[in-house]
Symmetry: D3
Subunit: 150 residues, 6 copies
């Protein structure tokens, strides 16, 4: 059976920290699907379609990585793309406590779904989408935080 | 003097994790009052009155446990129901840091008010009201997370 | 049924932080038994018998609190003194993670044993027996850390 | 070169916990600038100008401490007031994880900017502006949490 | 290239918590090598050879899992068994902080070595080898903590 | 008054992580004294005198930084070298919890002693003296972890 991992998130925007996890994680799996969650209630800074396009261009030569958008429950979407694994990055203990709860909830909804964690490279661990949005908001150049230009 | 504990929360909804703390805590106290805090500024998923009714039906044969709704400051409401203790569950270190601040603040407002903690049973610790609301929002059956059907 | 709590520890020495938990905890219970664990493999600074004597003198007018020494498993000793509760203090997240594991292990060995936690008063939370021993070792006066003189 | 620290925050309101850090920090620096960040998107309880006035009156005899309001990026404002240091208080591990990310981001934007931390005095560590706002909201007297009356 | 993971530890003894990680992890890899580290300076309760025998008997029908003993640096041993991954379990934030440092150190020594984490199932997270040793020391039956009888 | 900071530790060995804190901290102070604590009960890998020599050679052109050895209580030694500040690095939440207790204890012993913290640069945060000792023990080259060759 092919080993497929879903890497879910809102990716508003997709950062070098996310790319670090996807690329290191891709050595573990046959395929990594970057799932961009659409939530009509949350206002975004960078549209889902822009992000989808940027990520897919960035990984166009990597046959193991592709981005897809989705709505609804992450665990259900994992089933739709035949992912038996969720891939998640851990930056610090706050992440750990949050991800621990979410991983147990996901196993409860779909008991075959295993969440696999990689610790974000230390020099990238401070990068969060919210920090990047705030810098962008104040007209700072954010490209050094992203794997591609925006 | 009777030992009365207030177990305060928004209970939107009341979960098996909450029931675990109330029931284990009730062995410590003569009475446990489940206080459902009403906050008109926060939109709820499950109305206070529905929750009040469900909890009181669920515990109707347990003379030590009852639910009441309240507005205003928790420490003040504790006085109104003659509770000299607050009962709280701890799931993880994030809870601990938050509860630590709140417990000190409550002792400051009402210095006789002691907060007593029980650690949530590990198999229930991942259940949070917000996870349950999200699953409900996506049309999942949430009854396995609750002590009663909704 | 009488509510009896065991407050176990090595108490080498018993500090103001310990006294804070015992005294605040004694409002919850009919009786608090301070159990001084003897472990022949661990070298102590202050003998078990000295500590037993000091604690019992200190609480001689408090009929709810008494100290006893024990060897062997804490959960077993709780049964011997008819304690259905363990009382523990929490100072910080490191304590929380440790106590969480121990509380689950104790419930596994003796499933009626409930562990109840109180958060140490902030101005005493820095006091640990090991800090006190180190100061004592360097000939500092340690009486301001203890409820009695040594 | 003069050692100037910026102590940034929204200070809604400025508490005894903030004053503790500013005053203990002022022994380290030649000047501490309390920067009150204005963010038109966030509704405040206490206006920036009221807070500015209260803080400056409170420290009017301390030539090393003064308050200023600002908009925009904190790291940029630090440059404007010639601050080569940010001063921050740490209350607990949740603060630590958050401040760690922010400090790295600030060094990325302005690599000469060093963040210096002091741990909040334990008896004040429970005071947060949000707890104070909630008490105020419920008509409690909040002056015991503040260095001045409001 | 075959995906081989090393699951290193002292396994004194190997617990149900370890078995949980090995078995869930084995779905990710072609092979999981349980590496029992021998350290002549540390006195063991259960000999390396006993543990090796017990684990290999337990997994004798699982062609993906086998146990081996080793001395020396874990990262070097990973190379010897052609493991490009280390598999580790996380029980709580204390584990996370420790494993984070070790994972970075291992990448430093052998930059192709990726550490992959799975969170221990909550009902097993309290089981540590040290708790089991303590219970064993007090003549408790420890078989309910282990995947096999000892 | 001159601002003098003591940076205390056992430095067995002094690492790039220590150097990072000393050098970044030296911008804050007029003088940073690296205090190498001698504890005859603890067996060292690298002798105090070797370390003293190496550190002082390394900083021989930096007039603000020097190393000294000491025995006894850190807070007392701070007084001897006229240090009114302790300088400490924080790598993670485990460090934070430990340092928080120690800082309060030090203020208790010598109430003018303020502890100032800097967060270790993320790419160095995994380096601990104990990791370096373990690598050294296994005949690995450790020079990439140290500011000087050993």
């Amino acid at each position: 059976m092919k080993k497929i991992a879903l890497f879910p998130g809102s990716f508003d925007p997709f950062t070098k920290g996310h790319a670090d996890i996807v690329e290191r994680g891709s050595k573990l799996f046959d395929e990594v699907v970057i799932g961009i969650g659409e939530n009509i209630k949350k206002k975004r800074f960078f549209s889902v379609d822009l992000m989808l396009d940027k990520i897919n261009s960035y990984y166009k030569n990597n046959t193991k990585i592709r981005a897809v958008k989705y709505t609804g429950l992450t665990a259900k979407f994992a089933q739709e793309v035949n992912a038996n694994f969720l891939l998640r990055g851990l930056r610090n203990t706050t992440d750990f406590e949050f991800e621990n709860s979410v991983a147990q909830a996901n196993r409860h909804v779909f008991d075959q779904l295993e969440t696999v964690f990689i610790i974000t490279s230390p020099n990238l661990a401070f990068i969060s989408s919210s920090v990047v949005r705030e810098l962008y908001n104040y007209n700072q150049n954010i490209n050094s935080f992203l794997p591609f230009d925006l």
